[in-house]
């Protein structure tokens, strides 16, 4: 097992390559998921604002 991780003396070069690949891919996935969450939250806020606006409008119209 130790021999496997030593990579014949090239451990740093090999694992820094595979490590960077894994890290970048995980970071990209996190970024994209965060981006989707952000836009969905924003759309949710937009929806609630329209709902409140319609309620107020309906209330106002029924009073007058």
């Amino acid at each position: 097992m130790a021999e496997f991780f030593a990579m014949g003396g090239y451990a740093f070069y090999v694992w820094a390559s595979y490590g960077a690949a894994l890290l970048l891919i995980l970071m990209e996935i996190i970024w994209v998921r965060r981006r989707l969450r952000t836009i969905l939250l924003r759309l949710g806020r937009m929806k609630r604002m329209t709902e409140v606006y319609t309620e107020v409008k309906v209330e106002h119209e029924t009073k007058t």
């Binding site: 090239y10 989707l36 329209t50």
Partner: protein, 253 residues
């Protein structure tokens, strides 16, 4: 014009509408992501445990299984991005421009990864992290093209104008891709020749070749999955005031 109408006639553009592509993309993501994981596990197993030690480079050559697929994807994604950008310019389809925009960050990621793993491979083999060799320099230019495409698009507020301007960068820059690919033949470079050529038998053990191809397929599936995820974000961001997005949000309740 007739050409365009004939295509529209057979409903070719059905999924070219962001409204119908959004749910389709959402359904496709898990499948491509699962394929990417399975292929990555298989590729890593073959590359790290089955493939024999290289008689010249020892274990350091195993960097190849991430370096070569990343470099291939960096060039391939650029070509696909340029095609989508061109389609967006010609047919003025919103989804094409969004796809080009969704591909750029992943392309830049693989370009960076190719350069990074190349440096880590170059140091023990050539004795230098970096040399101004034709292959390395043109790959660095590719990274700048991706960055240029993304910054130009981000700098212009109106998405339609932003797409048109950045599409030009993508199309002009596509000239660089064959230069990267053939640089090792055209110039006397330190970088080794192509790992796989169409004219001669591959110069490596079958297991090494298998590991490299399986890893490439894995990165390909990953790219499709993550780009579909990103294009869903872009669709919602750009179409947020449209009726279909409002209806989608009502259904989500």
């Amino acid at each position: 014009m007739v050409f365009g109408m004939a295509f529209a006639g057979i409903n070719w553009f059905k999924y070219a509408s962001p409204a119908s592509f959004y749910p389709l993309a959402g359904r496709m993501v898990p499948w491509f992501a699962a394929l990417a994981v399975v292929l990555a596990l298989a590729g890593l197993y073959i590359g790290l445990f089955v493939a024999p030690t290289d008689y010249k480079q020892g274990e350091a050559y195993r960097i190849m299984f991430i370096h070569v697929p990343a470099a291939w994807m960096s060039m391939f994604i650029y070509i696909v991005m340029a095609i989508y950008a061109a389609l967006g310019l010609i047919f003025n389809t919103r989804l094409s421009a969004m796809m080009a925009s969704a591909l750029a960050p992943t392309g830049a990621l693989f370009t960076f990864l190719a350069l990074w793993t190349g440096a880590l491979w170059g140091k023990p083999m050539w004795g230098a992290w970096w040399v101004w060799d034709a292959r390395l320099t043109t790959e660095l230019i590719l990274l700048f093209l991706y960055i240029g495409f993304m910054s130009l698009e981000a700098a212009i507020d109106d998405p339609r104008r932003a797409s048109r301007a950045s599409a030009l960068v993508a199309i002009v820059g596509v000239v660089n891709v064959p230069i990267i690919y053939f640089s090792v033949q055209w110039w006397n470079t330190l970088h080794q020749g192509a790992s796989i050529s169409f004219s001669s038998a591959p110069s490596m053990a079958a297991t090494m070749l298998t590991a490299m191809l399986v890893m490439s397929l894995s990165l390909w599936m990953y790219t499709i999955a993550v780009v579909l995820m990103r294009v869903r974000c872009i669709i919602l961001e750009r179409e947020r005031h449209s009726d279909w997005v409002a209806e989608l949000m009502m259904e989500a309740r």
